[in-house]
Amino acid sequence: MPELKTRLKEYRAAQNMKQGDLAELVGVRRETIIRLEKGQYNPSLKLAMDIAKVFGATVEEIFSFEEDQ
């Protein structure tokens, strides 16, 4: 079954952004960002697009589905 993989941490580190700052920008809690980075929560389309907009990237660049090996 495909698993959601995120490159959220890489993009956040590249812009020297804290989890709390990103959470405030997209209107969610810091715990939500933690779970997103760990792949423990699947974001809604709106949240995924808002996060992609913050980093100036596409949704597919940040979130992808990979086959679980």
């Binding site: 804290k18 709390g20 209107g27 809690r29 933690i34 779970r35 423990q40 974001p43």
Partner: protein, 185 residues
């Protein structure tokens, strides 16, 4: 002030007649977030709110169980003290909650709350079934054919069911949202 102007603009946008229900809901959440940012009070997190509600539910559950099962043992004085203690705890919680601003719920919170609510509903039905079974078994054992229910027992039963629902719902939510807050930066 700039921030007040933002909220005023949002409210003006809310009044437009051509908005859909989903758009209005989203705008209302944005307004709530803006007001949350402006509020000078200290915040209480979603977990904190859930913990307070869990304690509220637990107090209601314990009080209702004691009033339903140990009324004769406690006597009228004991019941009075029990009611006063639980009321004092609840009033303290309400006072504490009023002194803080509430962190708005995000989509993950809403998802977890829905899961917790469905679990709480199952537990609620189980408790109701067990209570009915206990009443039938005890009355049959005593050879009692008629069950007399007074308004105090009805109120205590309603409190018990509400208390169980709140305790299970918010306990389940806290268990689901158990990611450590101190992780990374």
């Amino acid at each position: 002030m700039k921030q007040d102007k933002t909220i005023k603009e949002l409210y003006e946008k809310y009044k437009k007649p051509d908005m859909t229900r989903a758009e209005r809901q989203e705008l209302m959440e944005t307004i709530y977030r803006e007001r949350y940012k402006q509020d000078p009070r200290k915040p209480i997190t979603q977990k904190g709110q859930a913990l307070l509600n869990l304690v509220f539910g637990a107090v209601m559950t314990v009080e209702s169980v004691l009033e339903l099962t140990c009324a004769r043992l406690l006597g009228s004085n004991g019941l009075g003290i029990l009611s006063m203690v639980s009321m004092a705890v609840i009033l303290l919680m309400i006072f504490f909650e009023h002194k803080r601003k509430k962190e708005p719920a995000d989509e993950m919170t809403k998802t977890f709350m829905l899961k917790a609510a469905s679990l709480a509903a199952v537990c609620e039905l189980t408790v109701m079934f067990v209570m009915m079974l206990a009443v039938i078994i005890v009355n049959n054992a005593r050879g009692i054919n008629n069950i007399v229910v007074n308004c105090d027992q009805l109120f205590d039963t309603a409190s018990l069911l509400l208390g169980v629902y709140m305790t299970v719902r918010y306990g389940a939510y806290l268990w689901l949202d158990r990611a450590p807050a101190c992780e990374e930066e």
